[in-house]
């Protein structure tokens, strides 16, 4: 839908992503100007109306666009924004955020570069949330929601959060580190209005499960509880009581310490769950207990998401059959299933839209996916044993091809495999041209098409040519500059590109920087791209969120030049021990209105081009 704004006798037409009632602002009213010659108002709409209208906009992109129309609209948007999304915590400071947006209830904050997930970023790199909390405590005391990704969060910060924000409702920590279960205890103890506690895949020091018992007895507001990735035992009694009294609980993902026997008791307390993460699924029940579990599952009519299933074996999977028909998201990525076992299960899941599995299911398992899940939109296949000495498990190109024939709506794939061919990828995207996220990881770096011995250039060429909606791409295998030429030429909607062990020369990276107009995040490791490539993106980096280059050919001089030419970019270099002085081992470049950061540790050099 379009918003048409008449302003100063010119039109601005904005495309928005939101359904929006079209309205027109009357342009500068000449009558008004005559009557009120000092009026600086360009629009007769009262601010309140404008704000009310703009408050209907949700997407940050829409809001950014709207705020650029004119000053009035900028102000109105600022006053009506309640959720702020900050993709790079160093691109802006908390003070600047608070100055612009006076009424924020919900913050999403992302910190470290994504490659920190793979241990490529030094531990003390930064992204500490505490300075943000300190500012928020003053400026946004009524903050309700905080979602953090790859931030450093200490127990002190969690306690600070728990104590200083009386309305706090939602805490989501994904891939964060620096805290322990003590911090969770503080949250449980003090956050009286908490509705969501979602702790996922964090580097958490798991001291004890006692934190769960810290929820007060009169606490009943919880709707989402996810502690699946914690290891220590929680007091089951406390958990059961918590689940019983939180009548609005919709999402419950427990950890391995919760046995099947206990799971049954939880299900009985909370049959209205929509998302369930089981604990251990070890087959250790008596016949009667098994029957009770089956009954309990039968009562859960609303379950659409299932995960956990640790140590599940074929033996007990049938207990899930009652809920399978309504499942839309099944996460089996911690379950070692074989192909036949998966097939039996999937026959029960015709409505599946998202599936995560381990590659133990093999190509045969994936054939079953293709046969049984026509509505599938997302598939992720993780390697069960990425460092396997002998390839006894795993999936090949055949598996994904089979899926593509059966699941034409597939638009998100993350696929770890040990062999792939250009022809297979071409077939896959021909069957499924709607890919928005194509992440292929051929696990051996630089491996060519195993049938033709050619580079995998044509595979990714096919992907970018066919999948015009592609937003995210991860490439792998033996790749020359040709891959990047294709990407630059065709991937016009690409926003995120991940490259490893690929390319032949600077030209590769240049093609991407020149051609991918919507590129926001570029992360590169172990590629022969040097200063020429780095500097070719000089004018591009300000329109991107960030660039990461590690183990490439970039030198300190190249980085200094970049920093000098582009003062609004932060150019940070991390040096490895014992590396050449002139080499820039790891480079992280990002736009920022907050200037160079002041909390960089010694191993991070901020270049200022001086």
């Amino acid at each position: 839908m379009k918003i048409i704004c008449f302003h100063e006798k010119s039109f601005t037409i904005l495309n928005t992503e939101t359904e929006f009632r079209v309205f027109t602002l009357m342009g500068p009213n000449p009558k008004m100007k005559r009557e009120f010659p000092d009026s600086t108002r360009s629009s007769p709409f009262p601010d309140e109306v404008l704000e009310r209208v703009l408050s209907l906009l949700q997407s940050p992109k829409d809001r950014s666009a709207v705020s650029l129309v004119c000053k009035d609209w900028y102000n109105a948007e600022s006053w009506s924004r309640t959720h702020v999304f900050i993709g790079n915590c160093y691109s802006v400071s908390p003070e600047i955020v608070a100055r612009r947006f006076p009424i924020i209830k919900s913050v999403t904050l992302k910190g470290k570069p994504r490659f920190s997930d793979f241990n490529l970023v030094p531990e003390n790199w930064g992204a500490d949330v505490h300075p943000w909390l300190v500012v928020f405590a003053t400026k946004y005391p009524f903050l309700e929601e905080l979602r953090l990704k790859r931030m450093v969060v200490s127990d002190e910060s969690l306690e600070f959060l728990a104590v200083n924000f009386p309305n706090f409702k939602v805490l989501s920590l994904f891939s964060c580190d620096g805290f322990s279960t003590d911090g969770l205890a503080a949250i449980a103890t003090h956050c009286k209005s908490l509705t969501q506690l979602d702790i996922q895949e964090n580097g958490i020091e798991d001291k004890s499960g006692g934190w769960l018992s810290c929820f007060p007895e009169n606490f009943t507001s919880l709707e989402v509880l996810n502690f699946a990735n914690l290891n220590t035992d929680v007091n089951f009694d406390a958990l059961e009581k918590l689940v019983s009294r939180c009548k609005s609980l919709k999402v419950l993902k427990v950890n391995k310490s919760v046995s099947l026997e206990n799971l049954q008791r939880l299900l009985v307390c909370a049959p209205r769950l929509t998302e369930l993460g089981t604990g251990s699924f070890m087959p250790e029940l008596t016949g009667r207990q098994y029957a009770e579990l089956e009954t309990a599952f039968n009562q859960c009519k609303n379950l659409n998401t299932l995960s956990g299933l640790w140590e599940a074996t074929a033996l007990y999977l049938p207990v899930l059959y009652p809920i399978c028909s309504s499942l839309t998201f099944l996460n089996l990525s911690y379950t070692f299933l074989q192909s036949l076992e998966l097939a039996s299960l999937l026959r029960q899941c015709p409505r599946l839209r998202r599936l995560w599995v381990l590659d133990t299911v093999g190509d045969k398992g994936l054939e079953a996916v293709g046969s049984n899940c026509p509505l599938l939109e997302e598939l992720r296949v993780f390697p069960a044993d990425p460092f396997d000495e002998e390839i006894i498990h795993g999936v090949t190109e055949a598996g994904l091809v089979a899926v593509s024939y059966g699941c034409r709506r597939l638009h998100y794939v993350l696929y770890f495999c040990r062999q792939m061919t250009n022809a297979a990828v071409a077939t896959i995207v021909q069957n499924c041209p709607d890919f928005t996220h194509f992440r292929l990881c051929i696990m051996n770096p630089g491996q060519p098409d195993y049938l033709t011995n050619e580079p995998m250039d044509e595979a990714f060429g096919a992907v970018v040519r066919t999948c015009t909606k592609l937003q995210r791409l991860s490439v792998s295998g033996l790749l020359t500059d040709l891959t990047f030429k294709y990407i630059g030429q065709y991937a016009k909607n690409l926003e995120t590109l991940s490259v490893a062990f690929a390319g032949s020369s600077d030209r590769g990276m240049q093609c991407v920087l020149e051609g991918c107009t919507k590129l926001r995040k570029l992360e590169i490791r172990d590629c022969p791209f040097g200063n020429v490539a780095l500097l070719s993106g000089l004018e591009k980096y300000e329109s991107m969120r960030s660039l990461w280059m590690s183990a490439c050919n970039v030198t300190m001089n190249g980085c200094r030049l970049l920093a000098r030419e582009m003062p609004r970019l932060n150019v940070e270099v991390m040096k490895e021990d014992g590396s050449d002085d002139s080499q820039a081992d790891k480079v992280y470049v990002y736009r920022s209105v907050a200037g160079p950061r002041r909390d960089a540790p010694p191993c991070v050099l901020t270049l200022s081009g001086l």
């Binding site: 895949e201 911690y334 069960a384 390839i391 770096p445 630089g446 011995n453 590629c527 183990a551």
Partner: protein
């Protein structure tokens, strides 16, 4: 500073740890011959510890240099491909390639089906997931091979009348055990149930460890020593007692025995893992 370099095939990843762990002398000599700017170096190498650095541009593909592995580099398993094409696990071969200084060609890269596990942060799986997988895999494997029977019985008792034959009768068609060879860091796995007798097992192991099925490219690079290996006679060396190596196994009591003494069925039911031992070290193993 840059470590040495190595090239070719899956041998790349495999050789790396072999060479660096065992042949520090070799590595350091390679250090000093590290390439200058623009010089073509060996083909596929794998960045270890993130210290890889490319010198010069132009040549296709990655030229990477490895540091000498230290304890902190976590020298755990390195994968070797088992699929159709090449494997080259002998340290001799890797040394041969290292000294040869060949350019990487598409073919030699084609040989690389092994997974590079020694590369930091590769494959790109969150460490969180990695920990969980490793721990589960361990327990999974242990269960499969040593307590399968125990578990079946336990389950039978517990589930009572319920028909649990789905697990019991499901044919376990593979019985993988680890095989390590003295002098080789990289272990393999072999499916004992794919063999019905000692002869085929020995043949398979010889193919895995003592010979490579490398293509012509590799023979180009081989030293005379290596060539001998390729030309070696194809009859069983491991069982004949006449070669440099002898095949042994650890049984469920933890004792190391010579393979071939007991009937095959008895062997498969008690074997936990295999080891190709140097004959010189195999003294004391009762025959």
């Amino acid at each position: 500073m840059q470590g040495g370099f190595f090239g070719g095939g899956s041998g790349g990843s495999v050789c790396m740890s072999t060479v660096s762990m065992e042949d520090n002398v070799v590595m350091s000599s390679e250090d000093s011959s590290s390439p200058d700017e623009g010089e073509l170096e060996l083909g596929l190498g794998l960045s270890l510890g993130g210290a890889a650095c490319f010198k010069g541009s132009g040549p296709r593909g990655c030229q990477q240099y490895a540091r000498i592995l230290t304890a902190k580099d976590l020298p755990s398993k390195v994968s070797v491909s088992s699929s159709s094409s090449t494997t080259s696990s002998s340290s001799t071969l890797s040394r041969a390639i290292a000294t040869a200084g060949t350019k990487r060609t598409a073919d030699s890269v084609a040989a690389s089906n092994g997974v590079a596990s020694q590369v930091v942060g590769w494959p790109p799986i969150r460490s969180h997931r990695m920990h969980i997988m490793v721990n589960q895999a361990k327990s999974q494997v242990t269960e499969e091979f040593s307590s399968m029977n125990k578990r079946k019985n336990a389950v039978e008792e517990k589930v009572g009348n319920k028909n649990i034959n789905s697990d019991n009768t499901k044919a376990r068609t593979s019985l993988f055990v680890k095989v390590n060879m003295d002098g080789t860091l990289i272990g393999r796995k072999v499916d004992l149930n794919a063999h019905g007798c000692y002869e085929t097992l020995a043949q398979a192991l010889e193919n895995m460890f003592l010979r490579t099925t490398t293509t012509v490219n590799m023979t180009r690079l081989s030293t005379p020593e290596h060539k001998n290996m390729i030309d070696a006679k194809r009859h069983s060396q491991l069982l004949g007692g006449s070669s440099e190596f002898v095949l042994t196994y650890e049984d469920k009591d933890g004792d190391w025995m010579l393979v071939g003494d007991v009937p095959w069925g008895m062997f498969t039911s008690s074997v936990k893992r295999l080891r190709i031992m140097r004959t010189s070290e195999a003294t004391g193993l009762g025959k």
